[in-house]
Symmetry: C2
Subunit: 411 residues, 2 copies
């Protein structure tokens, strides 16, 4: 039952209000016990019942809700640094995939990696993410692409879920058509619908069902069928939409009531309108924009149309080989013209909504999980503008410290 | 007299050869004493005289020359995070400057900051840069803009120069026309030429003289006169050239034999040709490109024309508020289409050439300074593609360890 005092600025990030409204409290204090926030307010107004709780000193720093990375492909074998170099030399993503690279190569490398090694890698990534202040992580399958391998990855996520950092598993069996099904893609779609989705759902191994709707991956009709099967088994839909071209993915997300549509570099005006009416969250992935040299997703148009915009890493070994969410947040400012306050809400409460956890995490409110990060900066603007290796000095999840260190000090 | 063994890959980065040729030695060893490299080669071929030297184990990691940040504005007071936010909302750099922001605001904040505090801030930044593997830093004045204040900043750099990390001071009195000289700019140019340059040179306080040639700063004629005065006093020229428009800065750099022309987002084909013929280094500053939403400098065209391209941070509180050189290097890949090998040479031997230190640092060769960094990656491509908070686990300058830590592990 500690109380954190001498907080220079506490950003509550309540669900209400516009995306740029972070509900700040200057000179604040925060009390929690049993993993739950009990009281938040001005340091001058601490109620008597909390005054003798053990005190920690925030040193005048910034406190934010624990960051939520709402889109990662956490479990994968190998890397693809050589493809990064080839893309810089002018080869396209599709040329590389056709020549045996791309997602298909990571599928082969993942299948060849023992479970214990995959678990160790994921654990390493999660530890590094915690140091950056990330307390909740969505993690997709999608480098298995067979019944056994997709379930193996989801089981890895289940086994990693015991800690204080939250892990939200998403089934992405529909990541791409596996090589051996290229000639008879319908068979793979049927396998996903009739076997993989039901078994993942029955085992309680996934909360969401995701589909990559794109010319090189799944059609709108296939996506609709797979997401329908997911819904029938209790898995909420998510869509990789309109990343390389406007394929109508945003409209499909609205039609099926998806929690989020992700990427959206090429989303149309009508797609944005449909998402706004249906309450779909847009998940922006600025690392993929940067690494693929793509055009940025239209974050400003989304926000103006009433679509909340989350910011996530898309961490994967191809188009977004970084788990550094704060750098992705700075990129969301510079590439997508979001303000630091909008980006902070996009990596906390809006990200929580994108993965269905908005009742538990993503904002600092009495009754919610005590998930927060202590940032060495005096404002959100200063934090995200002064890009440093790591400005987080402490991360707390379910009331327990999960990471701490000197961070990169503000000067 | 230690010897570092079990190096997975050692990138020598010799001055010769194309920009993408980093002269790698796999399974290498590196011996040094008295701050100087004595032997480099394959771990199997260590000569008998080094075999009983105290051994350190590189753990199979990558060893690179100590990074050289060849363009920073290290000493400044205050920050300008609020202007970052205003630019994201659509205000232009020039609008903000006209309203009392921009360089002029940092000048006022710097003048108001006590010397001891400025020294402390610089020391903090240098420590963080060392952790990233940066062993040499160029540092410009330019937030003083009066005789006393410009000399005060250069004296701060002199006082910081005692350590193992090298600091190269540049006089940038011609950063912008100070407010009180707006009506009579010739008087300020005369002050720079007749007072500031001679006094900085006489005191041995600067090696380079730099001018910001741009519509909003100094004309070509003013730049030519100031750089000429610098040359007459033994200061080598550098130019902030063609950042916001093609102002002929690259051609002027060639004309006066500048060590480097920096920025170059809008450099013309003829400017590139002139630089190639004169042997001027192009210093690319991808953070400024990112933060100002500008078009990237044409690195590929420069390299093809025979102009070596350095990569630096431009660290300053306005357009490039980050000292994270490895992130700037990844941005040079993604924004400027340079390969990781080209970028590594651009932040080592080519950067050293941009600041006149190519005989001392920037490559790993017998007889040169023992400046190197140990990176947790198995290749340069893996390091720069897998963007992490900090992949450097040890930095050595003049043979002495100046930073070490766990880094962000490779998986």
């Amino acid at each position: 039952m500690p109380i954190l005092r001498n907080i220079g600025l506490l950003a509550r990030c309540l669900p209400a209000g516009p995306q740029g409204e972070i509900h700040p409290i200057p000179r604040a204090a925060l009390a929690w016990n049993e993993g739950v926030i009990r009281w938040i307010g001005s340091d001058r107004d601490i109620p008597s019942e909390y005054r003798d709780w053990p005190t920690d000193d925030a040193g005048g720093r910034l406190v934010i809700p624990g960051l939520v990375d709402s889109h990662t492909h956490l479990a994968f074998g190998g890397w693809r640094a050589d493809e990064f170099e080839q893309r810089l030399r002018g080869r396209t993503y599709l040329e590389i995939a056709t020549a045996g690279g791309g997602i298909g190569r990571t599928v082969a490398q993942t299948r060849a990696t023992p479970t214990r090694e995959l678990v160790g890698r994921c654990r390493g990534f999660l530890t590094e993410m915690a140091r950056l202040g990330v307390t909740t992580v969505e993690a997709k399958s999608g480098y298995g692409l067979s019944v056994e391998e997709e379930l193996r990855i989801l089981e890895i996520y289940r086994d990693l879920s015991g800690g204080s950092q939250r892990l939200v598993p998403t089934l992405l069996a529909a990541h791409t058509i596996p090589t051996q099904f290229r000639a008879n893609r319908d068979d793979y779609v049927r396998l996903v619908i009739e076997e993989i989705v039901p078994r993942a759902a029955r085992g309680g191994l996934a909360r969401f069902c995701d589909v990559f709707v794109e010319e090189s991956a799944f059609t709108l009709a296939e996506g609709r069928a797979i997401l329908g099967a997911g819904l029938a088994h209790g898995l909420r839909p998510k869509i990789h939409a309109d990343q390389l071209s406007d394929g109508g993915g945003a409209a499909l997300a609205a039609e099926v009531g998806a929690a989020s549509a992700d990427h959206l570099e090429y989303v149309s005006e009508s797609g944005i309108g449909a998402m706004a009416r249906a309450g779909v969250v847009a998940v922006s992935l600025p690392f993929a924009t940067l690494y693929l040299g793509a055009r940025p997703m239209p974050a400003r148009r989304c926000i103006e149309a009433g679509v909340p915009v989350a910011v996530a890493t898309d961490f994967n070994p191809g188009s977004a080989p970084s788990y550094h969410l704060p750098v992705a947040m700075t990129l969301a400012c510079t590439l997508q013209r979001m303000t630091p306050a909008e980006v902070l809400k996009g990596a906390t409460i809006i990200a929580a909504r994108a993965i269905g956890l908005e009742e538990e995490v993503g904002s600092l409110e009495e009754g919610k999980s005590a998930d927060f990060a202590l940032i060495d900066a005096d404002s959100v603007e200063q934090w995200l503008y002064h890009l440093r290796p790591n400005a987080c000095v402490k991360a707390v999840a379910r009331g327990r410290e999960i990471a701490s260190g000197p961070g990169s000090p503000s000067q």
